[in-house]
């Protein structure tokens, strides 16, 4: 009884609060929020709402290959958006593909966030040589595009792992590659905030009563960084999804046996000239809609946490 009341209470506070109000103030934000939610849910429940398991070779029938979408001639309701060269239902493949893309996005942004926030906190709070070393590395990395860094990490991982092992762990290699190419933004922002906060009186008071440095960073400085970190995480999410799609499109990402959105587009590119446009267009549209709505949400969050820009 008490628990439900508490939940209701916090829900009330959420919907009456500033955050929700700001969200409902812009139609574009609400639409992109809705679209993101729908795509998240669809990806999460993909096994329930898809028509087949596109990752299961036994479920595919080569006889169904290149079926056009349902409204075209020879289309069939069994494959509403048509099929690819393997006879894979594109609607199901897009659901599973966005599931994969979103998983890689979330995992790599989490990795980048943990790494970046930790290094940023340490650099900003401790200062000195630690700060110089971390920020120098960050500066050098920032001057190279993320795609290049992700490609290099992927290439090295490929060389270190024997060929047959690579396909099993490719998702984790991608998470590592994308995560390591994204940490700098987190680190720079968190460092800036913690450099300001460490000189404030409450931190001084905390040091005075003998709280250890890790605890001060964690309990007193970290909470101040949460807003900007959330903004960067959202923006990085869009970047990470695009990076994954790009790597997969370049053929160094997810293999065609378990396609992500980028892999599907890569498959489809080979069949553009024979007129099978749907293999490219539908996964491409799904990717663009997903990234666009995440970016718009990020824009809104940035404005919300930074009223000066409004």
């Amino acid at each position: 009884m008490e628990v439900t009341e508490r939940i209701r209470d916090s829900l009330h506070r959420f919907f009456d609060g500033d955050f929700w109000y700001s969200f409902t103030q812009s139609k574009i934000t609400m639409i992109s929020g809705g679209v993101t939610a729908v795509m998240l849910l669809a990806a999460f429940f993909a096994p329930l709402i898809s028509l087949q398991n596109p990752f299961d070779p036994a479920a595919l029938n080569l006889m169904d290959a290149f079926t056009p979408p349902v409204w075209a001639e020879n289309g069939s309701w069994a494959f509403p958006l048509g099929t690819d060269n393997q006879g894979r239902d594109l609607y199901s493949a897009i659901l599973y593909g966005s599931r994969l893309s979103l998983f890689i996005g979330f995992a790599s942004v989490s990795l980048a966030m943990i790494l970046g926030v930790t290094l940023g906190l340490v650099a900003g709070y401790l200062g000195g040589i630690v700060d110089v070393v971390i920020m120098r590395v960050a500066d050098v990395q920032l001057s190279f595009p993320a795609i290049l860094i992700a490609l290099l990490i992927d290439g090295v991982a490929r060389a270190l792992l024997p060929n047959n092992r690579h396909e099993d762990v490719v998702v984790y290699v991608l998470v590592l590659a994308i995560g390591l190419s994204q940490w700098v933004n987190f680190a720079r922002t968190v460092r800036g905030i913690s450099m300001v906060e460490r000189n404030k009186e409450y931190v001084l008071a905390a040091r005075l009563i003998g709280i250890s440095r890790p605890l001060i960073m964690l309990r007193h400085i970290l909470p101040n960084t949460m807003g900007p970190v959330l903004v960067i995480a959202t923006i990085s999410m869009g970047v990470a999804i695009l990076l994954e799609a790009t790597l997969s499109f370049l053929g160094v990402g997810v293999p065609p046996t378990e396609p992500s959105l980028g892999t599907l587009i890569r498959i489809g590119q080979d069949f553009l000239f024979s007129g099978e446009w749907w293999i490219v267009i539908f996964p491409g549209a799904a990717l663009v809609i997903l990234v666009l709505s995440v970016n718009l949400l990020g824009d809104w969050l940035r404005d919300y946490f930074n009223p000066k820009l409004r």
Partner: protein
């Protein structure tokens, strides 16, 4: 000024050495170079001899020193897969990538700046809204998708433009160019547009925000109070100050254009360095990978250095800061 140049050059050399160390580590420790070079039936003695010949038994610092020395002379070893010197492979493909990148940068500048100026001067017009919406879509549309859509429209449906390769190229001895033949120019159009579109949105947004910033300053108000024409104020006074950061950023972006060419080159099967690099990653061809890494880093460092120095030459305010911070 001189102090600045020396310091920046020194920093650049350090960065290059770190990158070289990375490339060396990749080259030396990712996989065994000997095993990559020889076939299955090579005996252990032959392998050991080759190892000695390649100097792989020397102390690691000596090996690194030799690696850097070779690199400075443009010697990057022999490709594992193709079996030819990496330097040859790269110099064959460099013109294709540079031609594409420079044209893309030019396109981005020549369309991005006017679009940015227009959206800043006429914020309410529908064309400004259209440009801004377009730039948002441009940022959310991945490069490779833009390329594919272009191929679908102009290559497949309309059949106007070739969809892959460079077309006919003219060999000038040390440089191959596609700019002198009709098919070469036609082949260049779609890739250059694809590569430039992201930079275009970037430049447009930058010009717009800088211009809006400058238009708010006092000296613009004063210029208007003096009764100068709109044209003189906007283009004579405001634009001049807007362009300094624009030139800097565009300069810095040139490096990423060359890197992003990897994607465009894959879409259009453009025979440049990017395509070579992607092939090297798939086939774990370490010498090509490390050479590409070093080369791209060199581009970046050189561009950064030039832009830094130019910035100081162009903007006298920075020089004043430098002097006061030094003395």
């Amino acid at each position: 000024m001189f102090v600045l140049i020396v310091r920046r050059t020194f920093q650049s050399i350090i960065v290059m050495l770190v990158v070289a160390l990375l490339a060396f580590t990749m080259f030396r420790y990712v996989g065994d170079p000997v095993a990559m070079l020889v076939g299955q039936e090579t005996s252990l003695q032959e392998r050991a001899a080759l190892r000695e010949n390649l100097g792989l038994n020397d102390p690691v610092p000596v090996q690194f020193g030799r690696f850097v020395l070779n690199m400075v002379q443009g010697e990057f070893g022999i490709s594992y897969q193709i079996g030819r010197p990496v330097s040859e492979l790269i110099s064959e493909r460099l013109p294709a990538t540079l031609e594409l990148s420079l044209l893309a940068a030019l396109f981005a500048l020549l369309t991005g700046i006017p679009m940015g100026i227009y959206t800043a001067l006429r914020p309410g017009r529908w064309l400004s809204h259209f440009f801004l919406t377009l730039s948002l879509v441009g940022i959310s549309l991945p490069t490779f998708l833009i390329g594919i859509l272009l191929i679908l429209l102009f290559g497949v449906i309309l059949g106007w433009l070739p969809t892959f390769g460079r077309g006919e190229v003219v060999d000038l001895g040390w440089w191959t160019t596609g700019l002198l033949t009709e098919s070469g120019i036609k082949s260049l159009l779609m890739p250059a547009f694809t590569l430039g579109i992201f930079q275009l949105t970037l430049i447009m947004r930058l010009v717009r925000s800088e211009m809006l910033e400058v238009l708010r300053t006092d000296y613009i108000k004063f210029a208007r109070a003096r009764g100068l024409t709109n044209r003189a104020v906007n283009f004579g006074h405001a634009l001049k100050n807007t362009l300094v950061p624009v030139i800097t950023i565009t300069g810095l972006q040139l490096g990423s254009i060359i890197a992003f060419a990897i994607i465009t080159e894959t879409v259009f099967q453009w025979p440049g360095m990017g395509l070579l690099f992607i092939g090297a990653i798939s086939s774990v061809d370490i010498p090509i990978m490390s050479a590409y890494l070093v080369l791209i880093a060199l581009f970046f460092v050189l561009i950064n250095l030039t832009v830094d120095i130019l910035y100081n030459v162009v903007d006298p305010r920075l020089r004043g800061d430098m002097r006061s911070s030094l003395g």
